[in-house]
């Protein structure tokens, strides 16, 4: 399979998260856990700093967690102009309890009434689109 994100690669950050995007394009939510000591490392890295292992298992998880923080963007910032028509839109930083509270960004969809830190959210996996720079993504929705 050819992956959309690979054809539109964004260079930046640590750069060890290809498997994350590949999994999302396969409609699965996976995060990396050290194959030797079991430590969750997020964002993904090349080596477990705790035990020194270079091997990670990408564990399939339910995209469910709690809002760690959020912001509502009111301005078309330079490099995310694709979202101009959605302004104001909310981006949520979600803690995933199953993965030692790794925090995963995603745009909020659905009813945002009463949004606050700590609320439970459920993620949906979205296919690559122009708005997500041809990467797959997770959108979060408050569980009511």
């Amino acid at each position: 399979m050819e992956y959309s994100f690979e054809a539109h690669k964004i260079i930046g950050g640590i750069g060890a998260d290809d498997e994350y995007w590949r999994s999302l394009e396969n409609n699965e939510f996976r995060l990396p856990q050290c194959a030797k000591c079991g430590k969750w490392t997020w964002p993904a890295h090349f080596r477990c700093g705790d035990c020194g292992s270079w091997d990670f298992n990408w564990v399939k998880l339910e995209p469910e967690g709690n809002i760690f923080s959020w912001t509502r963007s009111w301005y078309a910032f330079d490099r995310v102009r694709e979202r101009t028509e959605d302004i104001p839109y909310i981006t949520v930083l979600t803690e995933i309890p199953e993965a030692d509270n790794a925090r995963i960004l995603g745009v909020l969809k659905g009813d945002d009434t009463g949004i606050q830190i700590g609320l439970p959210v459920r993620g949906s996996i979205e296919p690559p689109s122009e708005k997500t720079k041809f990467y797959p993504s997770i959108t979060w929705e408050i569980i009511r």
Partner: protein, 388 residues
């Protein structure tokens, strides 16, 4: 082992006017030359004598391009400090180390920007190194990223909106006396602040720094040489840099603590090596990419806590000449102008000399904190001779 404490001093300051971003008639390199030449004249040194060059972040006016215009005899030392505005006081540390090890004698520490010849600062400073996790999810600007931290500071840790408003108002209050300040005409009363437009929750316009064209430079020499120059030396007492374990370029996954500036360990090292503590500081220039991050820096440095931030951070406490902790006495990043924070170092130096337009009488210990929430940061303490 030796320490940098008091071994070097800032002896010259040069600063171009702040131009509205994108309006400088000249490229950054020319502005940079102007600032360095002015700093040399201020110190009573010949620009030809500068043999060390230190900057930070995405600076493009490198020594290689400057030297023909300065008449540089030989570049003997040059370095760029990681990585954004977090690098500034740390650049002093590098300059001090170069001088103490005999690698250079006169070091310029500087920053120059001209968006009329480049791109928006927030794009430029990202250095094409913004993780996909942000961009895919509609986040690209430092303001949006720091907004996530501000929500935690306010909603989880309980720092009130009044504290954010007070630090902005203190900055604009000081700007009114500073002819250089871009925001000097703005009277930031409660209504103006409360009605300003939203940028990224919880930030409104006046919670955010400015962005300007301009250049600023300081010159650093050995303490011995500083005694024989024109200006009262501002001695570098400590300027540690770094990132705590569990922090770094972690896409909002900082673990030890999240909502403040990531400067607890830096501040502790600075207090330990300088021999001073937060109670001793006379005046502080607090880097404010956004005001809540500056509050985080003040919390990390021990000036206040989550619990008493609302009580401590008031206009009265934060303004010169007699507040408990006058901050950003030139107007700072919010109200004076923003050359990636470099103006703060000029002002921290002026406070030691006694020639700020909002002077704290008899200021002897002058703090400058580096970019808060940066993936690597630094903080610096300048002192008058009596503090050595």
């Amino acid at each position: 082992m030796t320490d940098i404490r008091g071994k070097t001093a800032i002896v010259g300051v040069g600063q171009t006017p702040y131009f509205k971003r994108g309006t400088s008639e000249h490229p950054a390199l020319k502005l940079c030359l102007e600032a360095i030449v002015e700093a040399s004249e201020d110190a009573g040194l010949d620009p030809k004598d500068i043999d060390g060059f230190v900057s930070y972040a995405s600076e493009n006016s490198d020594a290689q391009k400057l030297m023909a215009g300065l008449g540089t005899r030989e570049v003997r030392f040059a370095s760029l400090t990681w990585i954004h505005g977090g690098g500034i006081p740390g650049a002093l540390s590098i300059a001090a180390a170069a001088i103490m090890t005999g690698q250079a004698e006169v070091v310029a520490v500087y920053r120059s920007m001209a968006e009329s010849f480049g791109q928006r600062l927030r794009v430029d400073v990202a250095q094409n190194d913004t993780a996909a996790q942000y961009l895919v999810n509609g986040i690209e600007s430092p303001t949006q990223i720091l907004a996530l931290r501000a929500q935690r500071l306010m909603q989880h840790h309980g720092v009130p909106r009044s504290a954010l408003r007070a630090v902005s108002q203190a900055s604009y209050y000081h700007a009114r006396n500073n002819a250089r300040a871009v925001g000097r005409q703005i009277e930031l009363d409660d209504e103006t602040y409360d009605n300003s437009r939203m940028i990224a929750d919880p930030y409104r316009l006046f919670d955010c720094s400015r962005e300007n064209d301009g250049a600023c430079a300081v010159l650093v020499v050995s303490a011995e040489r500083a005694k024989h120059l024109r200006q009262k030396p501002a001695y570098i007492l400590a300027a540690p840099m770094g990132t705590p374990g569990g922090g770094g370029a972690l896409e909002e996954n900082w673990r030890p603590y999240y909502a403040t500036a990531g400067q607890v360990e830096l501040a502790n090292r600075m207090w330990a090596s300088s021999g001073y503590g937060p109670k001793d500081v006379d005046v502080a220039q607090i880097y404010m990419n956004n005001n809540s991050m500056g509050i985080g820096a003040m919390i990390d440095h021990g000036f206040c806590t989550f619990e008493n931030a609302g009580e401590f951070l008031t206009l009265e406490n934060l303004t010169a000449p007699s507040g408990k902790l006058p901050i950003n006495t030139s107007g700072g990043d919010l109200a004076e102008g923003f050359i990636h924070g470099m103006g703060l170092l000029a002002e921290a130096t002026r406070q030691i000399r006694g020639d700020s337009t909002n002077q704290v009488p008899g200021a002897k210990l002058s703090l400058m904190t580096g970019g808060p929430g940066d993936t690597m940061s630094s903080t610096g303490l300048l002192g008058a001779e009596e503090t050595l």
